[in-house]
């Protein structure tokens, strides 16, 4: 999903906000949100980390930037609790108002009760029992894509050339697992890019862990 969360390489977010020392939780509510996320999983609001990540990606983009990390988790956990039918937006708002919240407070959650079955980048094959397509040293080009669903191929690394550094074995495929399609194991590779091939002017090496469906082979002419 090409949302606000896909921050890698974006210009304009200049401030680093770097502090050497800070508490693990700044306020009690942050620790409560952390616990809510765990309790919601136990209550069946979601079944895997990719579903949770996709719920974070779908919150209100203004809230994503303004509410901080645990604010984003709050939006995600509310989204999942409402979509799974455990709570309703109306009863949460009614309770929050009774506790003193203003009716026009920005609510981060964006539950989608119709649960449209979008996906991320489709998988071309079922690799279980098959050998990996790539091995260390192979030249690859990442796919060009703009999926509506969840993906772990960041925008800045799409349609870019790199090399396979290592095959990391079979892992659940986030682009399908986030949408309730089961684990759908795919091969995962560590892929190394030269920053200049990513279009960045500073010279360095960048490594990503990318799934096989994100990659196409390319022939290197010696």
């Amino acid at each position: 999903m090409d949302g606000i969360h896909d921050l890698g390489g974006q210009a304009g977010h200049n401030a680093l906000g770097y502090h050497r020392d800070e508490p693990v939780f700044k306020d009690r509510w942050e620790a409560v949100v952390f616990t809510l996320v765990r309790a919601s999983a136990q209550a069946g609001a979601y079944t895997n980390i990719d579903q949770f990540r996709h719920a974070v990606e779908r919150i209100d983009p203004k809230a994503y930037l303004e509410h901080g990390y645990y604010g984003r988790w709050l939006g995600a956990v509310e989204t999942l609790l409402v979509e799974s039918g455990i709570l309703t937006t109306a009863e949460i708002t009614e309770r929050a108002t009774r506790l003193g919240a203003a009716p026009d407070d920005l609510i981060a959650a964006r539950p989608d009760p119709t649960k449209t079955q979008t996906t991320g980048i489709p998988a071309q094959r079922n690799p279980i029992g098959e050998a990996p397509w790539f091995q260390a040293g192979d030249a690859i080009q990442t796919v060009q894509a703009a999926p509506l669903g969840h993906t772990r191929l960041p925008s800045y690394a799409r349609n870019k050339k790199g090399f396979i550094t290592a095959c990391q074995g079979l892992w659940p495929y986030p682009d399908l697992r986030a949408h309730g399609h089961g684990e759908q194991l795919q091969y995962l590779y560590t892929v190394t890019f030269d920053s200049l091939n990513l279009g960045f002017s500073e010279a360095f090496e960048l490594n990503l862990d990318l799934f096989e469906p994100y990659l196409n082979p390319i022939e290197i002419i010696q």
């Binding site: 890698g8 977010h13 680093l16 407070d105």
Partner: protein, 195 residues
């Protein structure tokens, strides 16, 4: 007085109380999280591995080969580590870790991530201009040191093994562990020689 609760805190309390009423959450669970992540899980775990790697070459080799097994052997809690890879800094190569898409972080060895790690500035810029970002954070690398950035885009987690500072030859493992910071194991700081 500006003790007005924030909208996020009120909405959190709304969900918290509703889930408690439905027996899907207990106050004890919240206390457990506070205790666990304040006292038991944190960068002191990663620091133990780094200090031992500095004094024990065989351990260092194992750590770089298969850190996942070592984390299991140490029994660190905190989750979020299906597979851990440790990258060792040298005089010529510096490693730094990020998660541009969310906030993936090796909880079992470093605890919960700091705020700046999860905010847009670091996530957007460290994959675009790492040398400039590190300099702004107080780490000026020599031009001869190349930079490798690890963007944690899947379930593999990364930790940096920083360089052992000069002047620490007399220190034992426990004393060394005291020097090691969270930020050095993310790769945004160096370990200072103790004064």
């Amino acid at each position: 007085m500006s003790d007005q609760p924030s909208p996020q805190s009120l909405r959190t309390e709304a969900i918290e109380t509703l889930l408690i009423e439905k027996n899907l959450l207990t106050s004890a669970a919240i206390d457990t999280v506070l205790t666990t992540f304040s006292e038991q899980v944190g960068p002191m775990n990663g620091a133990k591995l780094v200090a031992r790697a500095w004094v024990d070459a065989r351990f260092k080799a194992r750590l770089l080969e298969d850190a996942t097994t070592i984390v299991q052997e140490y029994g660190f809690e905190g989750g979020q580590v299906d597979k851990l890879i440790v990258k060792a800094c040298t005089e010529s190569v510096h490693h730094v870790v990020v998660c541009t898409l969310c906030s993936c972080y090796p909880w079992a060895v470093l605890g919960l991530p700091p705020r700046w790690y999860k905010d847009p500035g670091y996530r957007s810029r460290i994959v675009r201009e790492p040398r400039k970002v590190l300099t702004e954070m107080g780490l000026s690398l020599p031009e001869t040191t190349s930079i490798k950035v690890w963007d944690s885009s899947a379930e593999i987690r990364y930790m940096v093994l920083p360089l052992r500072p000069a002047g620490t030859e007399a220190l034992d493992e426990t004393a060394l562990a005291e020097l090691i910071t969270r930020d050095a194991m993310i790769g945004v700081a160096a370990i200072e020689t103790p004064s």
